[in-house]
Symmetry: C6
Subunit: 83 residues, 6 copies
Amino acid sequence: MTDPSVPPVQLVPGNSLITKTPEEGRQLAIKMARLVIKVTQPDAATRERLRPVYADDPAMLIAIGHTVALEFATIAAANKYWT
Amino acid sequence: MTDPSVPPVQLVPGNSLITKTPEEGRQLAIKMARLVIKVTQPDAATRERLRPVYADDPAMLIAIGHTVALEFATIAAANKYWT
Amino acid sequence: MTDPSVPPVQLVPGNSLITKTPEEGRQLAIKMARLVIKVTQPDAATRERLRPVYADDPAMLIAIGHTVALEFATIAAANKYWT
Amino acid sequence: MTDPSVPPVQLVPGNSLITKTPEEGRQLAIKMARLVIKVTQPDAATRERLRPVYADDPAMLIAIGHTVALEFATIAAANKYWT
Amino acid sequence: MTDPSVPPVQLVPGNSLITKTPEEGRQLAIKMARLVIKVTQPDAATRERLRPVYADDPAMLIAIGHTVALEFATIAAANKYWT
Amino acid sequence: MTDPSVPPVQLVPGNSLITKTPEEGRQLAIKMARLVIKVTQPDAATRERLRPVYADDPAMLIAIGHTVALEFATIAAANKYWT
């Protein structure tokens, strides 16, 4: 499962889309969305500086919500909607 | 179902995507969209301050509608479209 | 079907995604998109004031079209594309 | 098929998502995207005035392309990808 | 297959979504995205003038990537993911 | 598999959407998103100049995340979610 070319940032925690519950699927969606940001902007100090910018900007908060919804759609399908 | 690592905000009310009707599915979509905002901006006072900003901005209202539509697509598929 | 916690705005007219024709499905998509706006900005006077803003702004008109397309995708799938 | 409550603008030309070819499916996607704009901004003179605005703005041209792609995804699925 | 109402711009090269490989599917996605722009802004000189605008704007480059991803999703499904 | 009309940039590394794990699928999604940017802006120096612009802009970082999520949805479906 490990591979010498794997980047320092793990993009899919646990390397699986399968979760026990919708709640955990939603948490995974948020984590996966954040990890793409992390790999695109690897500098932790910069990410920390940007946090209050988007957290106080309603348009960006909505855009984050949109991205999480899209990640979640994939995770939900992978889990056959937990039904 | 509960887990010590669950964050204070519950992301999927009832921990299920299944609803009795489309109307309840739509309400769930709106709640799930809001809960991502809540977990990204946990400060209630800030969220309250931002509310009139987006509620008076047509572009943001449209973007909220877009996000809800995407959440609803997943919920509707989970419920096999209530048919 | 009715429930004491149902909000004053009905989000899915007829509480069903099933329509007789694609044309009616498209009308439902537009209505559902508008009803999310209505529940987010419940003040009718404000919505009326915002109408000429987005109706004269090509970027917002395109964004509305995008949201309706997404709502319609769900409705079309629910109706098995009316085939 | 006709109905007294049908709005003046027909939203789905031919009231069907089925087309003979992908090319015709793409044309339908463009038409359907335009008809949502038309129903949101019913004044023809205003739409005519807005045309050069979006036709000269690369961000809006890209956004139009995005919306057409989404409409087309639904039409393509309805036609089982013409295969 | 030809039809007197077909516009001068062909929107789907080859009038098919089927390609031999993912690589060719991706090329088709890019072409289809460009052809919607072409039909919306038919003037070649204007399109040429806009090219450096979006090619130097990271937000627009990202938006182009988004649109191509959506076109590709449809093409990939049409080809059953080439598996 | 090779073809004289293939452009200099390969758009789908390995010419396949199939990966061994979700992690590798996510890496492929990021690469595919970047390769569309590369083919749209082929000048490496320009791309290098734009990198700090989007890497310091939270709205653009979110938009990149959105595009990657969409590419990943297709890759995940192609791999039947690795289940």
